[in-house]
Symmetry: C2
Subunit: 305 residues, 2 copies
């Protein structure tokens, strides 16, 4: 490992790995920094059906392992480390790790999002086996099944509406007595006959064997408990962009997503963003990969200027 790179990529999911394929194939020295597992959130996906080029589907771990091999083949280096901050030194960007600093001429932030977890028993255990955080990704796997959506905002209700196309029943479970979602979205969603609602209710645990079989629910009013038999549960409790280390440096929106223009440039010249961490992301592997290619392309233009 060197102390200085043409391009430092923060995050080793599909966006970061694709950026790394592009920059390293263009002979730009490239370091990809990932704090946990190469591949990002999608490594949890048993089967990715909608990544173009794999008509029979592909396991999320395998797909991102291929992307990683591809970036490595062209010379991108990978480092497991936590990024704690970035400071500017003229045109250079100093990327601070827990115990060292690495300098980049350009930086691509592809650090993704954390799904807000329920933190209940069974949630982690059944990810990819009935527990999902993405209706667009996993909805079609639940044709004619009974499923639940946990959450009360617009995202939760839109997911329920979308899932009702596949599922036999969709039960929306929300801890409060009213939805946070807008009136118009509620009107559209709650009129769908397949959709049921349980308010004042929280999930105590997710149970099953090979796959999810039921939720254990608790009333927030009187604490009474009940079981709900379901085949799948979509947790729509929100997303937290991994941008704490960028506070005060680049422009973020209220949720903490990175503001970018159409060429993936952030508010700081030479710092780009790609994938789930940017505003308006649809949080799909191929879209993140496309972002990564764009950010890399424009990082190259920036370095050639």
């Amino acid at each position: 490992m060197k102390n200085e790179y043409d391009v430092i990529i923060i995050g080793g999911g599909p966006a970061g790995l694709t950026a790394g394929i592009y920059t390293s194939r263009d002979y730009l020295s490239t370091l990809i920094i990932e704090r946990a597992l190469i591949g990002g959130n999608i490594t949890n996906a048993e089967e990715v059906d909608n990544y173009p080029g794999y008509p029979d589907g592909i396991n999320g771990f395998d797909l991102t392992a291929k992307m990683h091999a591809q970036a490595t083949k062209y010379g991108a280096e990978t480092l497991t480390a936590d990024v704690t901050g970035i400071n500017l030194d003229g045109n250079l960007k100093n990327v601070h790790l827990t115990d060292s600093i690495i300098t980049g001429k350009a930086v691509i932030v592809a650090s993704g999002t954390e799904r807000v977890k329920l933190n209940v028993p069974g949630e982690k255990e059944f990810i990819g086996r009935g527990v999902s955080y993405c209706a667009t990704c996993d909805g079609p796997f639940f044709k004619d099944k009974n499923i639940a959506v946990i959450g009360g905002g617009n995202a939760a209700l839109y997911e329920a509406m979308h899932l009702s196309k596949f599922a036999d029943t969709v039960t929306i479970i929300h801890r409060r007595d009213t939805f946070r979602s807008t009136k118009v979205v509620q009107d559209k969603t709650l009129n769908i006959s397949k959709i049921k609602v349980l308010l004042n209710t929280v999930v105590d645990s997710i149970e099953g064997e090979d796959k999810v079989k039921r939720l254990v629910l608790a009333s927030t009013v009187n604490g009474s408990r009940a079981n709900l038999d379901i085949d799948g549960v979509f947790i729509a409790a929100g997303l937290r962009p991994n941008t704490q280390f960028l506070q005060g440096l680049v422009k973020l929106d209220k949720q903490g997503s990175i503001a970018v223009n159409q060429i993936m440039q952030t508010s700081v010249e030479g710092i780009f963003a790609a994938g789930d961490v940017r505003i308006q992301s649809i949080r799909q592997v191929v879209a993140a990969a496309g972002d990564g290619a764009q950010a890399a392309f424009h990082a190259r233009s920036y370095l050639e200027k």
Copy 2:
């Protein structure tokens, strides 16, 4: 085939096929209209090295055939036809073909670009075997080789600059006595020692056996001819977006590319654009595919509204 679809996709390259995977997997009735060969321009690529997920590279035809199989698997239909225009009928979009009309609730335009050809002997014959229209795609295949770039605009000079990282020599061939490129780009490019310039020169033919071996050049001043031995030739004579059928309907830029906002929506609600045909496209397969997913996602939101 029906007369009405939820989504009509114009263009069967990576952007259109990916949009089709997404819309059909979401149970939206989908028709993909392609006027020529499913797969688009990339079908000419012998080896695509930078599509994430194929670390050993994949033939362009095979890659898009897989994408097509994937869209078909989820129910997307494909039609070979020329689109001659679109007219709006309330919220519906009537897509005019040579001898019929098909109606879509939403339309995704992914009709790509035509590369401006030199139209000289050997050009078509050697595509993918020494003739290229994309430095980002094919530059790395020409490490330590002698290559030529044809053109005189900013794009041509930037391509030459980029290619000089790989090639041994890069000869820029331009038919006029001055470059159209801006002064600052000329200064940066023409100072690179690997880059040579031939002005007042046109390509008469491209010759070789298995692969390109030489250009036959002609002076535009006195018609004299000369051979130039090269291993590859990058034609940077411009791109023509396939948007003639959209004139007067959606906003285009001066070159004819479709103006889109960050969610791939054009100036007309319910009409989206994706891939090489939109403004700011980097003309890469994965970026086009990412666009297609985004356009499909937002077409779905439009239809759910």
